[in-house]
């Protein structure tokens, strides 16, 4: 009955005024627009590439790269392929990212704790540091640290030395290199066995404590298994590591291990920059745990150390981990600034020299973008897994 009363409208306006059908129409239009846009871009690219006689293929990856990379952890010469150069780049990026994550986390937590210190000077010192570092671009930090290493540190002949085994020069930081003799692998095996044992023992001790209330000194037993026993074995076998110390030959050092100035500059600048952000995150996380929690814990007779470990830190971590994840991601992505000082990472190898030599912009940039996307996704996946583990278990 009521339908007959409604004035008849034309179909289009009826479709548009209905919530469901409008949703469908909007989405169809959006899809068409976006795919149309991409199709247009791809068509342009195809025409442009054809005009200059370039295809889209990844064949160049197997051709020799014809350039040197000074820091490579896998076999690499200028005769190696572009693919090999890319692998070297990936390893270098991962190396600086992982080293950076570790140092940034340590310094960041230290800064966060300093910011909460009751000592006025400590507190303000951390504050000034954090505000200065956070408000100045990372690229500037990298260039500055690199400048300090290259311009201020002495040449190899006048190297600053630590007991004649490690040398600090403007060509890098030279340290002795461990040479493992075959017997060392016994010690290595023991360390692995110790780690496996401690994993099992931690769970076992927890089970015993849950069932009987008996308490094992888990930390000390694990420490003994992982560090103590291998150490004893190491001396029993008669020091199966020899050290290859660097020596001055001509104008530079030979032998030993070297950390190149580019690596040190990038590593320090990245970690110290990210640490200032982590410091603020840690401070916010710890202040987010209400003081009542600590008081309640003291009231139960739990001492200061255990209160921190069992009450405050687990709750603070829940607040800290999500923003910490994005800082880790930022650090990894920021390592791409390496190109400014010539550290050979992904961008500098495949996205830089390889690109310029082969002229394959499309292919190289696709590879670079995909590599970074994969890395970012892997880090977020790992941190999400960790976040889920420490999340509050609710009803």
């Amino acid at each position: 009955m009521s339908e007959a009363v409604l004035p008849r409208r034309n179909t289009i306006s009826r479709l548009w005024n209905d919530k469901e059908s409008r949703a469908v129409i909007v989405q169809i239009i959006a899809t068409l627009l976006i795919f149309g846009f991409f199709a247009y871009l791809i068509r342009n690219a195809a025409i442009n590439l054809e005009a200059i006689g370039k295809g889209y293929s990844f064949d160049f990856l197997t051709q020799p790269s014809n350039y040197d990379i000074n820091q490579h952890f896998i076999e690499y010469t200028s005769r190696s392929s572009h693919l090999r150069a890319m692998s070297v780049g990936i390893i270098n990026t991962l190396l600086v990212a992982v080293c950076g994550l570790v140092l940034a986390t340590i310094v960041g937590f230290a800064l966060g704790v300093m910011r909460l210190s009751r000592n006025w000077l400590t507190n303000k010192l951390a504050y000034v540091y954090i505000e200065y570092v956070r408000n100045v671009p990372l690229l500037l930090h990298i260039l500055l640290v690199h400048g300090i290493i290259v311009h201020t540190l002495p040449v190899p002949k006048q190297a600053i030395t630590v007991s004649d085994t490690a040398f600090l020069t403007n060509r890098g930081f030279y340290t002795p290199k461990p040479v493992f003799e075959p017997l060392f692998w016994v010690v290595g095996g023991l360390i692995v066995a110790g780690i496996l044992f401690s994993l099992w023992f931690t769970r076992y001790a927890k089970k015993v404590q849950d069932q009987t209330g008996n308490h094992y000194p888990v930390f000390w037993i694990n420490l003994g298994a992982i560090v103590g026993l291998p150490l004893v074995m190491y001396f029993l076998l008669g020091n199966p590591i020899t050290w290859d110390t660097p020596e001055l030959q001509g104008f530079n050092f030979k032998g030993g291990m070297v950390l190149r100035p580019e690596f040190i500059a990038l590593w320090l600048a990245l970690s110290l920059y990210t640490a200032s952000f982590i410091g603020e995150i840690v401070r916010a996380g710890i202040t987010a745990v209400s003081w009542g929690q600590t008081e309640a814990s003291y009231a139960l007779g739990i001492n200061r150390g255990r209160t921190l470990n069992l009450v405050v830190i687990p709750q603070a971590l829940r607040v800290i981990v999500p923003p910490l994840t994005s800082q880790y991601l930022n650090l990894t992505k920021n390592s791409s600034l390496a190109i400014a000082i010539g550290y050979m990472d992904i961008v500098a190898t495949i996205g830089g020299i390889s690109l310029n030599q082969t002229g394959r912009e499309m292919e190289c940039m696709t590879i670079v973008l995909l590599l970074y996307l994969t890395m970012s996704l892997l880090i977020s996946a790992a941190m999400n897994w960790y976040n889920k583990r420490i999340k509050l278990v609710e009803r």
């Binding site: 949703a23 909007v26 989405q27 959006a30 899809t31 976006i34 871009l41 342009n44 690219a45 025409i47 442009n48 590439l49 005009a51 210190s117 009751r118 000592n119 006025w120 000077l121 400590t122 010192l125 505000e131 200065y132 956070r134 408000n135 100045v136 671009p137 990372l138 690229l139 500037l140 260039l143 500055l144 400048g147 311009h151 991601l329 992505k333 920021n334 791409s336 600034l337 190109i339 400014a340 961008v347 996205g351 690109l355 912009e361 499309m362 940039m365 670079v368 973008l369 970074y372 996307l373 970012s376 996704l377």
Partner: protein
Amino acid sequence: MNQKAYLPGEHPNLPPPSSIIGPVAWIRGNLFSTPANTVMTVLIVWLLYKSLPAAIDWLFIDAAYTGDNRDECKARGSGACWAFINERLRLFAYGFYPIEERWRVNLSFVLLIVATVAVLFDNLPYRKYGLYFAMAFPFIAGWLLIGGAGLTPVPTDKFGGFMLTLVIGITGIAASLPIGIALALGRQSRLPIIRLFSVGFIEFIRGVPLITLLFVASTMLSYFLPPGTSFDLLLRVLIMVTLFASAYMAEVIRGGLQAIPKGQLEAADAMGLKYWASMRLVVLPQALKISIPGIVNTFIGLYKDTTLVLIIGLLDPLGVGRASLADTKWTGLAYEVYLFVAIFFFISCFSMARYSLYLENKLQTGHKQ
């Protein structure tokens, strides 16, 4: 002996004991409260004693403020050589913008200050007109800087120095906020395809470093344009920086949107508001207010990221600095240059951060503990 007896309520108010108030008590409480604190204090004081005087000597006392080259500088003082910065100041400020046209940059800068003041402070007279002006400002400044329509055109590759930083930073800030809001709403939308595109865009941009996007802009973007056309490197950079910042902005605003209780939207529905009206009048004002700290942080990040353009060959202050360092007359003065640029960035970023704190306090309409 002469202890006086007081009737209840007649005892005069005595000052608090000196162990509770005053400098001695403050020092005791804040610097020497525990043995560990004492050790820290002594250590830090020693460090400052070792480093501060040397730093002040280098910065001011032993510094040379005049001189024509590095050797003259070093002859005048063993400290910093500010004469270098002094000589290059114009280059740092304007890049290679033609000298006779620099009044246009100055004028835009003055207009920028007017527009910024109108946006930032809401208790000014005639603020409404100020806001209209702020909206028109990017176009006016664009016309002033690039020229055309009565002014001599200036190619954008002459842009440089702090002026370039401000151009990229302010365009990025002005454009990324609306795009970010749109993306955040898209990500929260109930239309699956809109959501999919928004998520895809945001996650892609957030997954790659800005420098790779800038490389894309400088090396391969021209392939995607219709044959025979090409556009300006600066414009390409602006587009990339804006897209990059809007993905981060979208995530910040999404955080704000998620913090708004569902009841708000339901109430808006119940009032008969349509989607856009309920967003504009109910949800977004609250969501944006919560996300102010994050938004300002994104702005600061974008502003600092403008330095990356030096890698693809634009002359921002760092680029100008590095180019100046290559001058044999002034070789080896890296610290002066980097410190000078650092101070510029520190002042801009730190004031943005302080303004965000001020705004946060002002918009705090809830109960304060």
